[in-house]
Subunit: 261 residues, 3 copies
């Protein structure tokens, strides 16, 4: 898979990536899209979320700080994206923690077309109908085989499914990729999960095979993290280097370091 | 007081710290909880704020960017926290600046049980009934003796009271601690007050004596700031080092540097 | 124009700069005001936005993540600012991208007095009535002469008009300044446009000639960016240095580097 070719497309086309995302991490979601070379926009008003999706090349939804009204704006944006034929990525952040998150996740999956469903193991397990309790927005232990879990949900929902964790999985009904890039330090910084979704959304804006786009996105992001961890004093210097690396990585480094199975 | 023992409990138990906080500083509030080793969550919808508080080990409220609806969600979360018996920390950010802030602060104090009331000198003075005008969200001068002020409010409200400033005070009806850690550079970075509240909330999730937890939290945070100021070029490098230090501090450093009277 | 004299006024008077701004960039908007030496406040509830504006020395509005309700709070704040006689700065962020942004920009311009209108070339062109389509919140190409565009809108609206870009323009009906400070790296970081507006708002809090204040603000900000670009590894280290420089710049450096025509 030619990850760097997708990066070059992002940098030359500068696709607009529309978000209705988590208020906690919204800046970092926008900024990681920007340093990748694309153009982020965050427009949540019901009165314009559909118009903005109509200008965009992909749409990222994240229920991390959802309200019922916010989810209605997401549906309007997603309906517009579906109509235009651009990919819709949903981060089911915190699914399994409260009834509201479960209900609204299922509403989105049932009422609009979601092209990529992304979460950690316990979130995806909950969306696949398992009886698992997420701890806030952090992952709980899941016993089931994760590749099987991803593929099952991919078939059920006709979508690409991404499970992030120590190793990441991107699967559809036919294939799956395991991405072994990444670093433990990512778990000590708020927003690394949300940013992963924005990176996926950006790659999906230039690569039509969304499972390949998702795997490539996670590998690129993980490589930047591995390099950032090298001489980081802690989570804050790590994060700074992560963003610089997302901006700077060259083809040789990406090809040498990528670990996608 | 064994501050580092609390840090070790935070790192091993990874308590969930629920927030309904200031939209300006929400990322840093979440991130400082994360780098301490705990698990932050921010869920503000009235439809889930109570459920999320029911999963948490402490609840942090901050009225920095309040609306009436947001305060209603806070009350639902606090009622759930009160029922579960977990501590509720309230940052009366900007009290004394507008009528809305005063009214909603008093509503919260009257309608739910607040275990720790935290603010700067002019905010706490206003909550204690003094006629003082806060300048936006920054402190104005207060003439009254601050220890007396904290103790009086602690007795009136049956709570721990924290006043932050050049020196910090944590008091209840029986005792008070003066924390002399900290650094002037903290006043040049937005959110250091809000983050202090999140640090207090995290310590209160593992230490039942909330006055001790508050003093320990402020000392730990202040030590990290003192060390960060050492070779900082300005507020941004200072902030980066502050977060790295919150993550890294070891027992020897904390015990050597703590200045709690 | 004595830029540094304005900086000294900001540092000594510490003016309160009230914002109703973009939720994506709100932290950086507040923080840049803080590191300049002033006191930021963000209070968006309709129940207090007017009271808070009544305490402030300038008011910054930004429609980057607008909703109809949020714009109503802006009008309340602006009416209060108009009554008090403090300057109101409007960033027409994303004007030209959706109908909502156009409509609400015109409502604000028609219903309250806006003293400084600020945007990139395509946003200002749209506000001046040109038929141009903004790409999300990033600028599109504009064919018209930008100085003429700024002056025309300044006359039409009786305001100072600021157009940011590779070179920045600050114009009123009588004069215009071209600011040649700044660096290309600013385009790789989210929020540099929003922060420019907050810097303008801070300078307008201490300098009555708002066109001079705007030009001085953009030069100061641009000088800090030029110096930050020097040894930046990428956008994240650039941003850290930018904030440190905003805090640190001395008179000699500012006078030597300013490029205002």
């Amino acid at each position: 898979m030619d990850i760097y070719n997708m990066i070059e497309k992002i940098r030359s086309k500068r696709p607009l990536v529309h978000h209705l995302t988590n208020w906690v991490t919204i800046y970092d979601c926008a900024n990681i899209v920007k340093v990748l070379g694309a153009s982020p926009v965050m427009a949540h008003a019901a009165e314009e979320s559909g118009d903005m999706a109509g200008l965009a090349s992909s749409l990222v939804l994240n229920i991390g700080t959802l309200t019922p009204g916010f989810v209605e704006s997401m549906k309007i944006a997603a309906a517009s994206a579906n109509k235009k034929g651009i990919p819709v990525i949903l981060d089911v952040c915190g699914a399994g923690a409260t009834r509201l998150r479960d209900e609204k996740s299922f509403e989105l999956l049932d009422e609009v077309r979601i092209d990529v469903i992304k979460g950690n193991a316990s979130e995806i397990a909950r969306i696949a109908g398992e009886d698992v309790r997420t701890k806030g927005v952090d992952s709980a232990e899941v016993e089931k085989d994760l590749i099987e879990l991803a593929k099952g949900l991919a078939v059920e929902r006709g979508a690409t499914v991404v499970i992030t964790g120590k190793e990441d999985i991107a699967a559809d009904k036919n294939r799956h990729f395991i991405v072994k890039n990444g670093h433990e330090m990512m778990t000590h910084v708020v927003g690394t999960g949300c940013m992963a979704t924005s990176v996926i959304g950006t790659f999906c804006a230039v690569e039509k095979d969304l499972t390949i786009a998702s795997a490539a996105a996670l590998a690129y992001y993980g490589i930047a993290a591995e390099l950032a961890s090298g001489n980081a004093r802690g989570p804050a210097t790590f994060k700074e280097k992560l963003f610089d690396n997302i901006y700077r990585l060259d083809r040789e480094t990406v090809e040498r370091m990528q670990k996608i199975q």
